[in-house]
């Protein structure tokens, strides 16, 4: 479990992470979503004790990670797959990392097998493709069989095969009861993997909700109707709670009614319909909408924060 409490990181005037609170629970994959520069990597570095928070704190399984007695068995992290000594072999890279907690060659070989790098185990890590480097990074994250797995943009640059592989891997790790925390700037990468979403923008927490709730919010239940008698239909449908917009003559977008409701109303009034379609906003759109708001309302949240400070 990862608990982040009022976590804040300031670099000079720039606030990279701004009073963020969230909890990452074990047993599910939690997606950490936000545009580039939203503060995702900074948050992860603070959880690992690499960056010192300006204020607030991050706890791993109830304690500060710095005090851990077996650090890489507590969090297995992948921050940057390119952060390897390019001339050292994959196997030696893992051996050096594992040695800090007494992990030896057999476990290293096991992990190389798991990520499919056995055949290049003795090749220098610098000769690896992006995907192979990513696999080596995953191997180092899983090396000490950690209870928390934290990956920063793990599918970045992976081929479709690799993306599928990571999805399966993450779900498997979560099913074993581990805490799985994965960042991404693309909703599409999270859609099929994450059960819970934490969304940030400009260092601030925007949303912390289950994927199911996010999907429910995203489905706006808009229905597109095309009819030669669109104006008559508008009269029939008009009711409190129903919004009807029309961009073109003969076309309506209806919110607040299902397609079944509209079809029934049209039939009752003997109105001809040419098209009747439910329009779901894509999750990507919903995500963009969320983060766009953060940018737009930035000015007003400034004042909110000011008030907060006065109150405190």
């Amino acid at each position: 479990m990862i608990e982040v409490q009022q976590l804040t990181k300031r670099y000079g005037d720039v606030v990279a992470v701004d009073h963020i609170d969230f909890t990452v629970r074990p047993g599910i994959v939690t997606g950490y979503l936000g545009p580039n520069g939203a503060g995702k990597s900074t948050t992860m570095r603070m959880i690992l004790g690499l960056d010192r928070p300006t204020s607030g704190r991050a706890l791993v399984d109830g304690r500060s990670y710095v005090t851990s007695t077996a650090p890489i068995a507590e969090i297995g992290a992948l921050l940057d797959a390119k952060a390897v000594d390019k001339r050292r072999s994959a196997r030696n890279h893992l051996l050096a990392l594992g040695a800090t907690v007494g992990i030896g060659g057999s476990r290293v070989d096991e992990l190389l097998e798991v990520v499919g790098l056995t055949h290049v185990a003795n090749k220098p890590a610098g000769s690896f493709s992006l995907g192979m480097g990513q696999r080596l990074g995953i191997a180092s994250a899983l090396l000490a069989d950690p209870s928390v797995v934290m990956l920063d943009e793990p599918v970045n640059g992976l081929d479709p095969d690799g993306i599928l592989w990571i999805r399966g891997l993450l779900k498997g790790l979560a099913d074993e009861g581990r805490t799985v925390f994965v960042s991404s700037h693309l909703m599409s990468e999270m859609e099929l993997t994450a059960e819970h979403l934490i969304v940030v923008g400009r260092g601030r927490l925007i949303a912390d909700l289950s994927m199911r709730d996010f999907i429910a919010q995203a489905s706006t239940n808009r229905v597109r109707v095309v009819s030669p008698m669109a104006l008559d239909l508008m009269d029939q449908l008009a009711a409190p709670g129903v919004t009807i917009t029309s961009d073109q003559p003969g076309e309506l977008e209806v919110e607040g009614l299902t397609s079944a409701d509209i079809g029934r109303a049209a039939a009752a009034a003997r109105i001809t319909l040419h098209e009747l379609t439910t329009v779901d906003a894509s999750l990507e759109d919903a995500f963009m909408e969320l983060t766009r708001d953060e940018v737009e309302y930035h000015g007003s949240t400034e004042t909110a924060r000011h008030d907060e400070r006065k109150a405190a």
């Binding site: 004790g49 890489i72 952060a83 499919g116 696999r135 081929d159 399966g168 891997l169």
Partner: protein, 288 residues
């Protein structure tokens, strides 16, 4: 990635060995000994380590033998370099140390800074979040690797060089002469010490170029430049510089412009400790 035929389930199973105890860590435990082991693996799996150690040996022995051969008059050569006019036989055979110190310094800088250039330092510090054990382990493995090599080099060149000198009937030295053993062992000590200062500067600068520039400037150019430019009254200050304090350790003859060997040793160790403490403070305080 055609190599990947494992299904997610298989992956999950093999990623979680059944030996894993409920507390999640089991026998896995971070200890200082294990951090040393980790740094040792890193050191020995870099090919440059072997080239550098070989380079240390070659410069130390090779240049010492050339200097000895020149002193016998059998070889005509204009060596140049800071110690070419060595006045005593021990300084003559150990003259290679003046070049070897650069090799050791650069090696130290590399050990201190190479993880910063790749970003690997984040992985390392995430694995050892208390951080300081990493610096101590790097220093220990460096010293333990370099010291035996330069000690063997210094002993080899001393005995080979002096036999060359005495064989030619030129003034030579014997191991039992006062100060000789101290100067030979002190040379090895000096080379390791400068390397450790380099390692500390590598951690402080987090860049190979910056650390090497500072070290070479401070070690070679500053003392030379200062002794030329500053009035003689400054000599009492200049002898406290790391290079001059080191010279006091590895000189047999008493030179009034240098500290006594014992004080030189204390001052030199002081510089090494200062550099390492500076590196420790910054390593602990800065964001990685």
């Amino acid at each position: 990635m055609s190599s990947l035929t494992t299904t997610p389930d298989e992956i999950a199973q093999s990623a979680a060995p059944t030996t894993r105890p409920a507390d999640g860590t089991g026998s896995l435990r971070l200890t200082f000994g294990r951090v040393i082991h980790s740094e040792w693996i890193k050191l020995r799996t870099r090919r440059s380590t072997f080239y550098t150690l070989a380079g240390l040996l070659v410069t130390l022995v090779g240049f010492g033998l050339i200097a000895a051969a020149t002193a016998t008059g059998q070889v005509e050569a204009d060596l140049g370099g800071p110690n070419s006019g060595a006045s005593d036989p021990v300084s003559t055979v150990l003259t290679g140390a003046d070049l070897a110190v650069l090799v050791s310094a650069v090696f130290g800088v590399l050990v201190g800074a190479w993880e910063y250039s790749s970003g690997l330092i984040r992985t390392t510090l995430a694995a050892v979040p208390k951080r300081l054990p990493v610096l101590w382990a790097k220093s220990l493995t460096f010293a333990a690797t370099v010291f035996p090599v330069v000690l063997v080099g210094a002993l080899t060149v001393f005995f080979a060089g002096t036999s060359l000198l005495s064989g030619a009937g030129v003034e030579s030295a014997s191991w039992s002469d006062p100060g000789v053993a101290r100067a030979v062992v002190g040379t090895a000590f000096y080379l390791v010490g400068i390397g450790l200062i380099g390692l500390a500067l590598g951690v402080i600068f987090r860049s190979i170029a910056g650390a090497i520039g500072t070290l070479v400037g401070g070690l070679l150019f500053l003392p030379t430049l200062a002794s030329v430019l500053l009035p003689e009254s400054w000599d009492s200050v200049l002898k406290y510089l790391p290079s001059n304090a080191g010279l006091a350790i590895r000189s047999v003859t008493e030179d009034p412009s240098l500290l006594s060997p014992a004080v030189g040793m204390a001052v030199f160790v002081g510089w090494v400790v200062l550099a390492l403490v500076g590196a420790a403070v910054l390593l602990k305080r800065r964001d990685a």
